[in-house]
C-alpha cells in the first residue's frame, strides 16, 4: 500500500516552501507530489523532463503533477501511468491542498474509493501553521482551525522570524485545539522528514511509539491523572477530551454506536483516536478516524503501559464530552445486559 500524506495549512502558512524542500530532497526520490499549481512552487530550475502531459520528472527523481478535474481522477491517472511504465513508479504520494480547503474529503476519497483504497492508504496529515500570523488565523478563520484539528503533525513555520515566547504561545494554542498532533518547527529550510512523513500509525514498527505519543505525552498527563475527561472550549467551539472505560468493551456494540454517531454528527467529530481493550481481542486494538471515515482497526502487540483501560480521544466541534460519554455508556450497558445469562433481550 502506498502511503498518502496530505499537506494542509492556511493561506501563506508555508505549504509551498515545505513542498519546495521536498521536491529537492533525495529522500523523496521515489515520491509523487500533487500540487495546486506548478507556478507557485517554481520548479523551472529543477525539472529534468516532462514525462507525460502535466507530469514532471524532477532532478531529485520526484514526480510532480497538478490536480486535474478532481483528486480521484488525478490519483488514479498517476497510478495507471506508473503501472504502465510511462512514468517512474513511486512509493509515496504527497498531496498539497489549497489554503482554504478542508482536507477531510481527500481522506474520504482515499479511504472509500474502491480502486484507490486497494492501492493507497492515508499517512500523516501535515498542517503548516504560520509562526507570525498563526494566532490570528486560529482566532478568526474556521478553515485554518479545522485544518489544524484533523492533522497528525503540525509544522510551525517561519520560526526564525518570531520570538521564542511567541512560538511557545502558538504551540500551546495549537495543542489546545489538537492535543494529538506532534508539533515540529521550521525556519524554511529544515524540517524533520522522518517525524513528518515516515513515522505513522500504519507502520507496525512505529505503532507503539505513535500510540505512546497519543496517550503518554505531557499534554494528556492531566487527563490521565484525573481519570476524567477534560474539555477545552475554544472560540470556534472545538473541544478535545478523553473517555476511558475500565472493563473490556463489546466491539460489536462499539461499532454500532460509532457508525450511528458518525452518521448523525460526522461533520462535528473532527477526529477520533482510540486504544481499546475489547472482549474480542487479547491484545489492544487501535482505532482512528477523520470525520465520517474510520480506518480499519489495527493490532498492537503489547500495551504501551500498565494502563489496560480503553481510552478514546475525541476532537469535536460543539459536541460535549458528557453527551458522548452518556451515549456510549448507554450502548455499552445495553450490550452487557443482553449478554448476561439472566437478563433477556428486549421484548417485542
Amino acid at each position: 500500500m502506498i502511503p498518502v500524506n496530505i499537506i494542509t495549512g492556511f493561506l501563506g502558512s508555508g505549504k509551498t516552501t515545505l513542498l519546495k524542500e521536498i521536491l529537492q530532497k533525495s529522500e523523496f526520490n521515489d515520491t509523487a507530489v500533487i500540487v495546486n499549481e506548478f507556478g507557485e512552487v517554481g520548479l523551472d530550475h529543477i525539472i529534468l523532463e516532462e514525462v507525460e502531459e502535466g507530469v514532471l520528472l524532477l532532478e531529485s527523481g520526484c514526480i510532480c503533477c497538478t490536480i486535474r478535474s478532481d483528486i480521484q481522477e488525478t490519483i488514479r491517472s498517476l497510478q495507471v501511468k506508473a503501472a504502465a511504465g510511462t512514468i517512474p513508479s513511486f512509493k509515496r504520494l504527497i498531496i498539497e491542498t489549497t489554503g482554504l480547503a478542508d482536507p477531510a474529503p481527500i481522506v474520504s476519497t482515499i479511504a472509500a474509493e474502491p480502486i484507490i483504497r486497494n492501492h493507497f492508504r492515508i499517512g500523516n496529515i501535515i498542517c503548516t501553521l504560520d509562526g507570525i500570523a498563526g494566532t490570528t488565523t486560529l482566532n478568526t478563520h474556521e478553515e485554518g482551525t479545522k485544518q489544524l484539528a484533523v492533522a497528525d503533525r503540525i509544522l510551525i513555520t517561519k520560526t526564525d522570524l518570531v520570538t521564542l515566547e511567541k512560538i511557545e504561545s502558538l504551540e500551546k494554542q495549537a495543542q489546545g485545539i489538537n492535543p494529538l498532533a506532534q508539533i515540529g518547527h521550521s525556519n524554511g529550510t529544515n524540517f524533520d522528514v522522518s517525524l513528518l512523513f515516515e513515522e505513522d500509525i500504519n507502520d507496525p514498527s512505529k505503532r507503539v511509539q505513535e500510540i505512546e505519543r497519543w496517550f503518554d505525552s505531557d499534554r494528556l498527563a492531566d487527563l490521565k491523572d484525573h481519570h476524567h475527561a477534560h474539555a477545552q472550549q475554544h472560540g470556534l467551539g472545538l473541544k478535545s477530551f478523553v473517555i476511558a472505560f475500565d472493563e473490556p468493551i463489546d466491539w460489536t456494540v462499539f461499532g454500532i454506536w460509532l457508525t450511528s454517531l458518525l452518521h448523525a454528527y460526522g461533520e462535528k467529530i473532527l477526529r477520533v483516536k482510540g486504544l481499546l481493550n475489547v472482549e474480542e481481542s487479547s491484545t489492544p486494538v487501535v482505532l482512528h478516524g477523520v470525520q465520517h471515515i474510520v480506518h480499519a482497526p489495527m493490532h498492537l502487540e503489547r500495551w504501551p503501559s500498565e494502563d489496560r483501560r480503553s481510552q478514546i480521544i475525541f476532537i469535536t466541534k460543539g459536541i460535549s464530552e458528557d453527551a458522548i460519554r452518556t451515549s456510549l455508556t448507554t450502548f455499552l450497558s445495553l450490550a452487557k445486559r443482553m449478554s448476561g445469562p439472566e437478563i433477556p433481550a428486549v421484548k417485542d
Binding site: I256, H263, E279, S282, P297, I319, T326, V346
Partner: protein
C-alpha cells in the same frame, strides 16, 4: 454492492472477521455469531423506534418499518441512512430522551 466492489472485497471496519489480525482473542466470534449478535443489538437499539433489522444470508441486512416497508443494506454503516429513508427521521444517538428510553427498555 456492485460487482466491482464485490470483486475488490470491500469490508466494513466493524467486521472483526475481516480484520483477524486485529482481533486475536479466544472470545472472537464466528462470522455468523457476530452477525447474529449485531442484529440483536441493533434490534434492541431500534426497538423504541419500531424498526427491525434481520440478517440476510450473512451478506446483507434487511431493515423493516412497522408497515412492512423494507430496505436492503450491505453493512452497519448503511443502516442509519436506510433508517432515515424508512422513517423520515434521523436517529440521534446523543438524544437524552432516546437514551433514557433505551436504558429503560432493556431492563
Amino acid at each position: 454492492m456492485c460487482g466491482l466492489c464485490g470483486l475488490l472485497g470491500i469490508t466494513h471496519w466493524t467486521e472483526t472477521s475481516a480484520h483477524s489480525a486485529a482481533f486475536t482473542g479466544d472470545s472472537r466470534k464466528t462470522l455468523r455469531a457476530e452477525r447474529l449478535h449485531r442484529t440483536n443489538l441493533v434490534n434492541a437499539i431500534l426497538h423504541p423506534k419500531r424498526v427491525r433489522i434481520s440478517d440476510f444470508q450473512a451478506t446483507s441486512y434487511l431493515l423493516s418499518s412497522p408497515t412492512g416497508k423494507t430496505i436492503v443494506v450491505d453493512d452497519i454503516q448503511a443502516v442509519w441512512g436506510a433508517y432515515e429513508t424508512l422513517t423520515g427521521h434521523n436517529l440521534d444517538p446523543l438524544d437524552p430522551e432516546y437514551l433514557k428510553i433505551l436504558d429503560q427498555a432493556s431492563k
